[in-house]
């Protein structure tokens, strides 16, 4: 399952990054230092945080993409940094819970294939 597969399924707005990146799992969290030590390579990270440090943590953990949920809007400099660092930023109005539930469903579907 790739980023470009979840974008239409979850109704996401893609701001930056690589749509062909493979997603192998999902991580949810807002405490950035915690996410930094727990999110895994190739996971889809869902958070309500939207500051520049999100891009740094995403870049460091090398997650496949970041979904900024619940209508939080990153500032322009955050989007610019994401583009420069090749971090995939996705936006959603949905709650973290419903996005995580949908991701769980998609990952299960993919496993069953």
């Amino acid at each position: 399952m790739k980023v470009k597969d979840i974008v239409p399924r979850l109704g996401l707005d893609m701001l930056s990054g690589d749509a062909d990146r493979e997603i192998s799992g999902c991580y949810v969290g807002d405490l950035l230092s915690w996410v930094m030590s727990h999110a895994q390579f190739d996971e889809c990270w869902i958070t309500i945080m939207s500051n520049i440090n999100v891009v740094a943590v995403a870049s460091l953990t090398d997650v496949a993409c970041v979904i900024i949920a619940e209508g939080a809007r990153p500032e322009e400099n955050v989007i610019e940094a994401a583009k420069a660092k090749g971090v995939c930023l996705l936006l959603s109005e949905e709650t973290v819970f419903s996005l995580a539930a949908e991701m769980a469903g998609l990952l299960k579907e993919k496993q069953a294939e």
Binding site: L31, L32, S33, W34, M36, N51, I52, N53, V55, A56, V57, S59, L60, A81, K85
Partner: protein
Amino acid sequence: MKELSLYILDITENSVRAGAKNITVSIEEKGSEFRLTVIDDGCGMKQEIVDRLSDPFYTTRTTRKVGLGVPFLTLAAEQTGGGVSITSKHIDEHPDDHGTVLEATFDSSHIDFIPLGDIVSTFVTLIQGSPDIDFLFRHIKDGSAMELDTKQIREVLGEDVPLSNAEVLGWIRGFVNEQYDEWDK
């Protein structure tokens, strides 16, 4: 990091890496006003570096390209309505009085304030990691005070006993805990 004491450990290690001989870590609490100050006499930073500290893509490390010490502390302070300010004098421009002063303010009554946590372990870990640096740790809260000055301990122990000695560290932990115990009375 779910405890402020871990942020304090992280940020004070910057002073250690700057080659400081003396580091003061001071916590002052007045009502819900929580103020952390870290003062060192390390090599300091030029203004162009200070200006970039809030940028997580700035780091002096060569092993990775992201530095989050100051950005994380700033985020923790700002999410309570406080902030971080840093002033620094670089050794090239101030050969006699170089060093860095970091001040972070928090509103400890704010719901997003991270609890202080195990500050005693932070103090002990810093001394253990850098037994040759002189640390002054001070914590003042509404009239109660805790102070630990490694210079004084060093004077008593003499030059031959390193502060990283397990017995010394155990004594230091007990000495600090005793002072905090007085607060609860």
